[in-house]
């Protein structure tokens, strides 16, 4: 059921590889773009608002933040399962987008109350947790089996544009209206409402023959997906790779300490990664469809390995900066959407959302654990040793994953 491929007019190239992605994917991409502007606006200024605007202690804020990081993990799995049970992915995603939109207003309403703020932030996280898996399931269900990689590439590219614009919009607003945190929240709310509206109007839920097959969808069945050798393999490698991946913030910290970058430009580094990511996302998805998505996913990790080696001092100066940002951006382009595309054929349609939620949750938890371990390694061994150990561990896991792939 690929709505647009049927509807698409104009010259169609021979073979499926020439097809353009479905209108549903474009619509979902637009929703994500607008929503990401909204959410990244808030993310960028929230620490400032809490510490400078409200006078919270920075440490209190850390606790407030950490407390709700775990919320998404559970909500994601349950939300995904509910979407499958009702076969109403759009509805569950819509609730997620809606809750996050309302949370933007809640930020203004909460004022200086720590408990209310906590609840609002938890609601925002819940919304994010709810929407991701149904959205990705919709993307996969709206695409022909051999163009899923490209569809995810298009979606992720659009998503990244939003993530790139969000902080810029927020800071321009703060610069225009000094101390205008509420202005940022209101504008963010407007973007979020637009996102919900685009979803409601332009995204159609997949409603093929699976609609009738409601039975056999339960939490138990969702976890039962792991009994499938193929999906289990994808999940366990994704988690294992997540466990040895050094978090983004560390990559930038390392870059900064290695290069002695003018601090005013430090904030621009992640923009470099994002720019590479959005440029490469679509080509990476297309190539993944041809050469194999899992292969592409592992190649992405090879790119990240190159970035780590560069960070260890293999190259220097501008070359290091370019190489690291290029490799880091390529890593995202080759892994983020591609992993979902790789999982697509392994998941039955009626359990697609549950499966994706499971995979995403596993990956997110692995990354959280990895950040804690890397922080500890940094404390115990110092920066250089921590990076060497991580790079070696990462290289080993990638190598084993590659060999195992070849053997299959």
């Amino acid at each position: 059921m690929y709505i647009a491929t049927a509807r698409q007019s104009g010259p169609r190239q021979a073979g499926s590889s020439g097809r353009i992605v479905s209108a549903n994917v474009i619509a979902l991409g637009a929703v994500s773009l607008v929503t990401d502007i909204s959410s990244e606006m808030v993310t960028a200024i929230l620490p400032l608002y809490l510490v400078l605007g409200l006078g919270f202690s920075p440490l209190q804020f850390g606790i407030l933040d950490g407390l709700y990081s775990g919320v998404t993990a559970f909500v994601r799995v349950i939300g995904g399962n509910v979407a499958d049970r009702w076969q109403r992915r759009k509805l569950v995603a819509g609730i997620g987008y809606g809750v996050s939109a309302l949370a933007k207003l809640g930020l203004i309403g909460a004022g200086g109350s720590a408990s209310t703020l906590g609840a609002v932030l938890a609601a925002d996280r819940t919304g994010k947790g709810l929407r991701t898996a149904p959205r990705d399931a919709l993307i996969s269900l709206s695409s022909a089996p051999d163009t899923v990689g490209r569809a995810f590439g298009v979606h992720r590219a659009m998503d990244t544009v939003g993530a790139l614009l969000g902080p810029l919009v927020a800071f321009v607003l703060l610069w225009t209206v000094a101390g205008g945190y509420d202005v940022v929240f209101v504008v963010s709310f407007c973007f979020a409402v637009l996102g919900v509206l685009l979803l409601v109007l332009f995204v159609s839920d997949h409603s093929g023959p699976v609609k009738q097959a409601k039975d056999g969808v339960s939490l138990k069945a969702a976890f039962g997906l792991l009994r499938d050798a193929g999906f289990r393999r994808v999940c366990s490698w994704a988690v294992l790779l997540g466990l040895v991946t050094v978090g983004d913030s560390f990559v930038y910290l390392l870059l900064q300490s290695r290069l002695d970058i003018e601090p005013a430009y430090f904030a621009v580094l992640p923009l470099g990664t994002a720019a590479v990511y959005l440029t490469l996302a679509v080509p990476a998805g297309r190539v993944a469809d041809k050469v194999g998505r899992w292969k592409m996913f592992l190649l992405g990790h090879v790119a990240l390995f190159v970035a780590y080696i560069a960070l260890l001092g293999a190259v220097d100066g501008v070359l290091m900066l370019c190489l690291v940002l290029l490799a880091h951006g390529a890593f995202y382009a080759l892994t983020d959407g591609v992993l979902m595309a790789a999982a697509t054929p392994l998941l039955p349609e009626k359990l697609r959302t549950s499966g994706m939620a499971l995979l995403q949750t596993g990956q997110a938890v692995a990354k959280m654990i990895s950040a804690v371990f890397f922080g500890m390694a940094w404390t115990v061994w110092g920066m250089q040793t921590a990076v060497i150990v991580s790079t070696v561990a990462f290289g080993l896991v990638v190598a084993v994953a590659w060999v195992r792939r070849a053997q299959r």
Binding site: V51, L59, G62, V186
Partner: protein, 347 residues
């Protein structure tokens, strides 16, 4: 499809209108765009940092002069103020020199930190990242230190909080002292979450005290800028400010575990390590200044500048309305006369 596109177009226009009106309204509340507050008396004359007996601060009165460096007589702080031309978010003066920490225009938060001469003319300036938060000079005006909040980092990690603290002398600049080796409880400490803020430099111009946060705890550190080594002295100390005689440190102590503005200002005697809560019971979120060896001044929301005795006695009293970032670099020694707490205390 046509209907859907029309609905979208209408919604975009409506939402844009909501955003635009809100921005417009917020802009109207920008103090710089408001008419000058006539209740704030202004007298002509330059702000000169070498004038004795003046309290220098950031003018917060609405009107075109909002944000400019101003001064009042310490003997009559609620009297007319003189307003200079230099605009800063945080200002500090010592020994006739100034330090101006100001927002730099641009889509990403950045700031400029500059030494100024007695006539508020910028001399040496450096571009730094982040949003201005603290700025301080050593007693002889030669060593500058500052702290900014860095938000660009949130691109990298959701919701991270980070400060950046720098130190500058006439011929040396270090825009981030976070890589200074740190000993916590006598042991070498390495962590990715180390943040320094609120530096106060001692009379020798190399020893300094500051706040270090790591592992969810704030510490008072004593550091040597030449030896490049810092050591923690005590927990739960933020924004230290060294007394002119170098024997005590005023600081904000976190007294509530949750809720906004959870601090109480204290003074720590460095010889006995005994701390005394001050008579100000409201939460002080500022790096306070010493007007003399017995009095500290600070900004409270409003913003207003208040003063309180440094020994825990007496009561807080209002010094200047519509003002922040106080300092008195030429207070003229221990004999400086502050007004007695009488009718001046309006709150």
């Amino acid at each position: 499809m046509k209907t859907k596109l029309s609905i979208t177009a209408i919604a975009v226009v409506l939402l844009a209108a909501v955003a635009f009106v809100y921005i417009k309204q917020a802009k109207a509340n920008d103090p710089r765009d408001m008419p000058a507050d006539v209740s704030v008396a202004v007298e002509p004359g330059p702000v000169t940092l070498t004038d004795p007996g003046r309290l220098v601060f950031r003018n917060e009165a609405p009107g075109p002069d909002h944000g400019k460096v101003a001064s009042v007589s310490l003997a009559d702080p609620q009297g007319p103020r003189r307003v200079g031309q230099l605009r800063c978010d945080r200002f500090y003066t010592a020994a006739g020199r100034g330090l101006c920490l100001a927002d730099a225009p641009g889509p990403l938060p950045s700031a400029t930190v500059a030494f100024t001469d007695a006539g508020l003319v910028s001399q040496k300036s450096v571009d730094i990242a982040g949003i201005p938060n603290r700025a301080k000079l050593s007693a002889d005006g030669t060593v500058a230190s500052w702290t900014t909040f860095v938000t660009g980092d949130s691109y990298a990690r959701t919701g991270t909080f980070s400060t950046r603290t720098g130190i500058m002398t006439a011929d040396e600049v270090d825009t981030n002292i976070e890589d200074m080796p740190l000993r916590v409880g006598g042991r070498q400490h390495r962590a990715d979450d180390v943040n320094f803020w609120g530096v106060t430099v001692a009379a020798d111009d190399r020893t300094f005290y500051a706040t270090v946060a790591t592992g969810g705890q704030t510490h008072l550190v004593k550091a040597d800028q030449q030896a490049w080594q810092a050591e923690t002295l005590r927990e739960n100390v933020e924004c230290p400010s060294l007394s002119p005689d170098g024997t005590r440190i005023a600081f904000k102590k976190r007294v509530a575990q949750d809720g906004a503005r959870p601090w109480r200002e204290h003074v720590l005697d460095l010889r006995t390590m005994v701390e005394t809560p001050l008579a100000e019971t409201r939460s002080v979120d500022d790096q306070v200044v010493w007007l003399d060896d017995r009095t500290i001044a600070y900004t409270l929301p409003g913003p207003e500048i208040w003063a309180v005795p440094a020994d825990g006695s007496g009561a807080a009293r209002l010094l200047v309305r519509h003002a922040s970032s106080p300092s008195a670099g030429y207070a003229s020694g221990p004999s400086s006369q502050l007004p007695t707490p009488s009718g001046s205390s309006s709150k």
